[in-house]
Symmetry: C2
Subunit: 95 residues, 2 copies
Amino acid sequence: MDLLLLATLRRGPLHGYAVVEELRGTSEGAFDLAEGTVYPALYRLEAAGLLASTWSTASGRRRRTYRLTARGRAKLARERKEWRRFAEAMTEVVA
Amino acid sequence: MDLLLLATLRRGPLHGYAVVEELRGTSEGAFDLAEGTVYPALYRLEAAGLLASTWSTASGRRRRTYRLTARGRAKLARERKEWRRFAEAMTEVVA
DNA sequence: GGCAATACTTTGCGATCCGAGGTATTGAAA
DNA sequence: TTTCAATACCTCGGATCGCAAAGTATTGCC
């Protein structure tokens, strides 16, 4: 989840709902994450200092927009490495 | 976990402890799973009818040897497909 | 005799995913 | 004009699960 969210925000800030839709889109439905999953995960990442958020209003709806912090970018880099290592090991075992 | 264990047993039966060692080996330490993880997972898979086990004794030590059932093989095939789909989606998002 | 390795078991904590329900606003359809 | 889908957020509770930790028992080496 952490990697998923950090990666989704790597191209620029997005608000929570947009993150959900982005993930539904780019993964062709493979990651159809419930809001009850994504929102708490975003809070967690912000609490950990990996994301920062700001409130705004667009067409009468309040939005909370998240962006990567420096630590978030560093974490993303680590997580990507870890994912590659994991995927390789899986391929090795499952092959 | 399920995929990991089913895949490890696809070449033939192994007893629990051997499964742990096998996973440590083929993944070059990437999957250093605690026994408290593997044994309960094996019980779960057996309870689900995906594995079957038989007791034996080798050099004074009792062993529980697991093998894939027909349903286990079917499950393995499904899980492999699912893994590939997941890995592709991850690559798409993380790329 | 002691200690590492083999082999299996159980308990309990912490993390986390998700379904389900809730609030509020906008805009289009009926 | 009322209703409903879509947008956008929040929160609770159940269920699962990985793992650390501790325990039992045997063999075999030092």
